[in-house]
Subunit: 388 residues, 2 copies
């Protein structure tokens, strides 16, 4: 096992009817709150009313900042920073999924500085502080509710980049599985893909034979996500399935499963960021295209590990590791398809002749993330060619 530091202070308030605690949790950090949310789905499903009622009950002043879209953009976060500064809010509350939470993180950080916040995303500067941030989660996939990362797209340069800072870690996150009951089948599926990718990318990186602890955690969590997704597609209001998905998505990307396996890279995410920076595609939908392609590209480097997963997840009995590993990838791809997530660029209406452009975009991120020794533009192109 490799050396690590693990610290994850976010308080998780989990379960039925917990949204009513939002006000009292927010109040611990200030009196005037910026409430960040998306395109209005929370008004349709009643979450908005429940959050507002709780904030009012706690006697908080509320400034609303709605309108965050999926694949959130920098320009909109900058508007939020202006509002936060102008209104002098003490605390930021995100009510939404990864896009809303990551926009809220960017606002929380930007409200405390005159820096160009994009400098944090391109690693030019380190975050020095942030307004306290809390979340009420309505899409469970990114684990942003219990981690220090945020992803935003600078639209004019088509750069979908990210930063990590302990200052951006939510203080408290409120997770009510019933808030997910109205999430569409498509987004429920994309959420599962995202959660699985967060775990499998580091999993295949972990090649230490004596470090099975993390592998076993991942195998149990991935299995749980898959089962839960299947149950959710049958019954969107299956409480236990939504709850398991919600908690598994967090445990799979809050630092626990990767503590001890060294620096992690997220190459399938890297390529997906390029895809969704250039095309309006849901993050999870992009990942179900790039993840199997990436797995197919590297399976020969560590067939035993791929075979292990194939046997654990799909009960594949093939004795030859490489064959078993490849069969496992095929099964995962079929499974993505079965839940309604695309597995090829074509299915997502992305023309194959654009591969060069996507590779170029991804390679810039590969360099920024320090992955470019392996993930050259040529390698990325070869992987993207497998996205079919």
């Amino acid at each position: 096992m490799q050396n690590f530091v693990f610290e994850n202070p976010t308080k998780i308030v989990f379960g039925k009817d917990q949204i009513k605690k939002t006000g009292r949790e927010v109040k611990k950090f200030g009196r005037k709150v910026l409430m960040v949310y998306g395109q209005g789905s929370i008004k349709k499903n009643g979450i908005y009313d429940r959050v507002i009622a709780s904030l009012n009950e706690a006697g908080l002043q509320i400034v609303e900042f709605p309108g965050v879209r999926s694949n959130p953009v920098l320009s909109y976060a900058l508007k939020g920073i202006d509002v936060a500064k102008r209104e002098g809010v003490d605390v930021v509350l995100a009510v939404g999924g990864g896009s809303v939470m990551d926009t809220a993180k960017t606002i929380a950080v930007g409200a405390k500085t005159d820096d160009d916040v994009w400098d944090y995303f391109v690693f030019k500067k380190a975050v020095q502080g942030a307004l306290p941030l809390l979340t009420v989660v309505t899409i469970s996939a990114s684990a942003s509710e219990m981690n220090p990362a945020a992803v935003i797209t600078k639209e004019e340069d088509a750069q979908k980049y990210s930063f990590r800072s302990p200052f951006a870690q939510p203080k408290t996150s409120i997770l009510d599985p019933t808030a997910l009951f109205t999430l569409s089948p498509a987004y429920s599926a994309y959420s599962a893909v995202d959660a699985i990718a967060h775990m499998l990318e580091p999993y295949f990186k972990n090649t230490e034979p004596n470090s099975l602890l993390q592998d076993r955690l991942v195998e149990g969590l991935v299995k749980t996500v898959m089962e839960s997704a299947e149950a959710i597609l049958k019954d969107p209001a299956d409480y236990d399935a939504r709850a398991n998905m919600m908690w598994a998505a967090i445990l799979g990307f809050n630092g626990m499963t990767t503590a001890g396996i060294g620096l992690i890279g997220l190459p399938a995410h890297m390529m997906e960021h390029a895809v969704s920076a250039l095309y309006d595609i849901a993050h999870g939908a992009g990942l179900s295209i790039t993840l199997p392609a990436w797995m197919s590209y590297i399976v020969g480097e560590n067939p035993a590990k791929f075979a292990r997963l194939a046997r654990k997840l799909f009960g594949i009995e093939e004795k030859d590791d490489l064959k078993a590993g490849m069969a496992g990838i095929a099964r995962l791809k079929e499974w993505f398809k079965s839940i309604g997530s695309p597995v090829s660029l074509g299915e997502a209406q992305i023309p194959e002749q654009d591969i060069g452009k996507i590779a170029e975009n991804a390679y810039a991120l590969s360099q920024l993330w320090g992955l470019s020794d392996y993930y050259t533009e040529e390698v990325i192109t070869d992987i993207l060619k497998l996205c079919k």
Copy 2:
């Protein structure tokens, strides 16, 4: 899944050569530190020198409080509280295993109050504050380094009781697996037993069929603890085995595996507390006696769950759940024996005619812990009769 609140802010600094960071971590919380440790093993294996050097390098004033023994006693913690108050220390540093950490927690809490600290153990009063506490871990089993609990024995009444308070949660814990290289085979085995009991007691309590997430985490962690213990007994300086044991013991009792399964009881621990309150036996050695007996007593209530574990851990192929479950218990007992931990009262030189006395002691704890509806003195007696 049931509602829960999860919050575990302890910072874990894990790995080779991390003890040198002790000083800088302690310094964040004060300038004068009470260093609590045990019977001197840390002087033999060099940990003492490394900790002192780091504290000195950080320019800290050190007050030493050595001499904590295993199955730590209240009277000695009270002495520590006196020293902490008299010296006006700002921060407490535990260097040791569960006994040292739990004594240090009691001191940290007691130093900030004029309450009789025993009132916290008998749930008469709630803890209102504590000096900041840090730990350097030399025995890995209790997970005290990342949880809010402490266990202490009031010797005159033979009461081995515990309290839990977020104030007692360590701020930072430093875990260097090499610090465990000189731990005896016996204590290495007892550590494994303790870690396993922490996980299996709630595991068998979790009977929700749709809440497999926590079960899978436990199964992976228990398997890891067992493999690691076997490797450690072959080679006490097996770094990866020590590291896996160290991290698995924490993840198995830091609140993660039990979040979502409701209130947990620890009946095998309850009975072991009675055993080690009355006899000088290592906690893990007591648990390898009470845990299989308790499992045998309740196997009929939930045979499917016992069968699941038997199949996962030992590959038992028996189709009948009750038979498979019972075979699993027998295999676990054999395994405890194989690593050198006793599985009967007789092996621990505890006379069978004392069962009445042990049951009476355990029943008092059963009442205090709110388990007495099920765990009456008669039931406890029946379970203790299986301890052979």
